[in-house]
Amino acid sequence: MVGCVFSTATHAALADTWAADVLALGASDVNEQVRAVNRIARRGGTEAIALLEALNDTSLQIDSTGAAYRKRSSGGVVPIGPHSPMPPKPPIMAPVIDNELRRALEMTLATLRLTSPDSRVRRRAAEEIARQPNDSLAPVVRQMLVSERDVHVRRALALSLAWVDVESLDPSVRIKALLAIADSPGTAFKPAVERILSQTEHRKPVEVDAQVRAAASKALSAIRWLETWTNLLSNLFYGLSLGSVLLLISLGLTITFGLMRVINMAHGELLMIGAYATYVVQQLFLKYLPNHSDWYLVAAVPAAFFAAAIVGTIVERLVLRFLHGRPLETLLATWGVSLVLIQVVRQLFGAQNVTVANPAWLSGGIELFAGFVLTFNRAAVILFSLAVVSFVWFVLSRTNLGLQVRAVTQNRDMAASMGIATHRVDGWTFAMGAGVAGLGGVALSQLGNVGPELGQGYIIDAFMVVVLGGVGNLAGTFAGAMGLGIATKWAEPVVGAVLGKIVILVLIILFIQRRPQGLFALKGRAVEV
């Protein structure tokens, strides 16, 4: 332990000043408190760290003799360090901490941690300091740099020095600092580096030394490179995430609209039913299987699929079957269905949103590098959507049902004359489309709020994706969804979320007017309904 070994001789003497410092911590004047903190910090050692940590998390108690104790959350106190006899002598007081003290405290603790024997602690502390500039720590850091052997800690220390050294009077020091920044760039340094490269109002460079400027440009390009990559990956990830959501909500529609030429305005509500099915499964798990509650999601997938498929089949049998070949009427009838479905759900579950929690294994994320966090729930949705697409593709191209579906949609009369029960195939097709919509609802439940009007917010997007990609076309839907997701995420930081959505919608409308058959038109087929 890199600490001070107290000889028994100096023990008592030190204890006095120690007690004095501890008492000073309880002073009412903040400046006295800060001075006391600094004195304690200079001593170093585990006792000092423990004392300051206790002060930081407001569990410190000081008795009348200047002995320090830590209040336990379960009640009672424990002594801090060997100088604190039990029981504490009243009156016991808890020092007051204001923001100024807190700032000093946090810095001090960081410094103390820099001297910890654990290199991980040191590294974390060094990185912390590198993120938040603090000139007063520079000497400490410099000192640490000399004796530090661990390469990661060295780099972080050099970086934190760079803050200060960038302003140094000695150009070679400045250069060294800038090169350190170029080595491990961070957006926090950007303003300082840009200032070095800027010009005064008389168009003279602020920084006179050309070599320093060169080093600064290197640093700036490194920072920009990092920013570009972070943005790129961030946009890509969020774009793919949004694209996968769009894909899931549109896939069902591609099947029903594209293959069956049925305009299902209640498609959004099928999504909603899938989301609510997930909610119900979660509640059941919480009630009957609380120990395995995190696995509700696995059971929710088939539950949502079948719930939505059943509702879809009911709609198809009772309403759609009779409106064959009348797309405008189908549109209106299914709009009516959607109104009914929303109201039913509203009466069953209430008009408020219900909470569907991410299971633990989907919460959180990993920070790949500064500023870019890959959240698990979004990554899972991307993978899930790919799985669903593969499933649909498999069913349509490799199974008997899929073959019949394709036959009926290409040439209904011919298929009927070959003995295919077209009505039954219609039912199965619509059920499948509805089921896939239910799966989309599962994904939506993991990403956002679940309420009766969940579907309304997505139906227009779903239609746009389907029309954009070319109706009845898996590849088109895939391309349309992903493209739209990435395009939206790229537009958002530029023009804002609402305006971005408007612009995207307008662009799609213009594109469709230019090319009504969509991105991947089915060859040889006229765009007709």
Binding site: L328, L331, A333, G336, L339, I460, F463, V498, I509
Partner: protein, 371 residues
């Protein structure tokens, strides 16, 4: 052949189909009289204790319904006769309402909450001067002009580019719905300068007359009812003309029409633009009677509801449009007061039932039972 044509006495030229038959004119004039003369008399001349007296709030409701009927007639012209199902007519209605609303806002003058020449919401948003596009709305007649021109222009452009690309049927419906949604989002933004999600409200005067006075309300009602009748005659004139027959041909066999020498795009754009302008006018008459216009009016659900008014009454009959608007809105008013949770079920079932069982609406039911 010469003999047969000389047997028939003709004026040199006349329309193939008259705007209204004699019986039709009779019915129309009676309705006009009842609406514009009898109702106001029942309101003003009778004492409030009388059972037949129509209270002021009822007059306003009738006025609002008349505006809806106007829009429904326009919708029927577009859908029932030209076969174009636009799910965005509510946008044109709302644009007309906003146009008039802007004039009403500006005529509040300095008697608003903030006692400033600027509308209240602008003061609230810290705007210092009136945005440029607000200025002409100081004039009432400009507002009327804008209520017709803005929806008309928007419809013309949107329709031209869509129909030219052969977008039709359900595709057109979906795209019109998406465009409606985009516009609604635009109007919700505060930056658009139209009141954001609160919209425009708190009107005081119209054309100098106080909106609180009974006389103004009755006058607005009469204007709306007369407007509805006028729009009906206009629509009859269009649908009984050769243009109307061309529109019906487009509705029934669009693919065949160009081979008969007609430019389908022109006709569709015409119907779309006319319908939009009528909806705009309806909106302009509506807003002083309801006292508020906000972006919620632009939501796609409102436009889709217009379609059901037409479908319930009977598509392709014009009268059906007006009838459907009255019936559905009356039902809505009643249900949302008495049995609110039921209204959406009723409306949803109405959509389903009408499309499945009564494709020709109420008028269709009567026509069938007559035949």
């Amino acid at each position: 052949m010469q003999a047969s044509s000389s047997n028939q006495v003709h004026r040199s030229s006349h329309r193939l189909e008259p705007v209204l038959s004699k019986a039709g004119w009779l019915a129309f004039c009676s309705l006009l009289t009842i609406a514009c003369v009898v109702v106001p008399i029942l309101h003003a001349a009778l004492p409030t204790s009388s059972a037949l007296q129509i209270p002021t709030y009822a007059v306003t409701i009738l006025g609002k319904f008349a505006c809806f009927a106007m829009a429904a007639i326009a919708m029927d012209l577009l859908w029932g006769y030209a076969g174009v199902l636009s799910l965005g007519q509510g946008v044109f209605f709302a644009l007309g309402a906003y146009a008039m609303g802007m004039n009403l806002m500006l005529s509040i003058g300095s008697s608003g909450v903030y006692r400033s020449k600027l509308p209240d919401f602008m003061v609230f948003l810290d705007l210092k001067t009136l945005p440029w596009f607000w200025r002409p709305f100081d004039s009432f007649w400009f507002a009327i002009f804008a209520a017709l021109a803005v929806p008309g222009t928007l419809a013309f452009l949107f329709g031209y580019f869509s129909f030219r690309s052969r977008i039709r049927g359900v595709y057109f419906s979906i795209i019109s719905q998406a465009a409606t949604y985009a516009l609604m989002l635009l109007f919700f933004r505060n930056e658009t300068g139209l009141g954001g999600n609160n919209g425009l409200t708190d009107f005081k005067n119209i054309y100098g007359y106080s909106l609180q006075s009974d006389a103004t309300k009755v006058a607005l009602y009469i204007l709306s009812a007369a407007g509805m009748c006028g729009v009906y005659i206009l629509a009859r004139w269009v649908t009984t003309s050769k243009a109307g027959r061309v529109l019906r041909a487009i509705r029934d066999q669009e693919a065949r029409v160009p081979f008969t020498g007609y430019n389908v795009v022109h006709f569709k754009v015409f119907a779309f633009t006319l319908s939009a302008m009528v909806c705009g006018l309806a909106g302009a008459l509506y807003v002083p009677q309801v006292g508020i216009i906000n972006p919620g009016e632009l939501q796609p659900a409102n436009s889709i509801e217009m379609a059901i008014w037409t479908a319930v009454g009977g598509r392709g009959t014009l009268v059906g449009g007006a009838l459907g608007a009255w019936l559905v809105n009356a039902a809505k008013s009643w249900f949302t007061v008495v049995l609110p949770e039921w209204w959406l079920y009723i409306l949803g079932t109405l959509f389903i039932a009408v499309t499945l069982f009564f494709p020709r609406g109420i008028i269709g039911v009567f026509a069938r039972s007559k035949a």
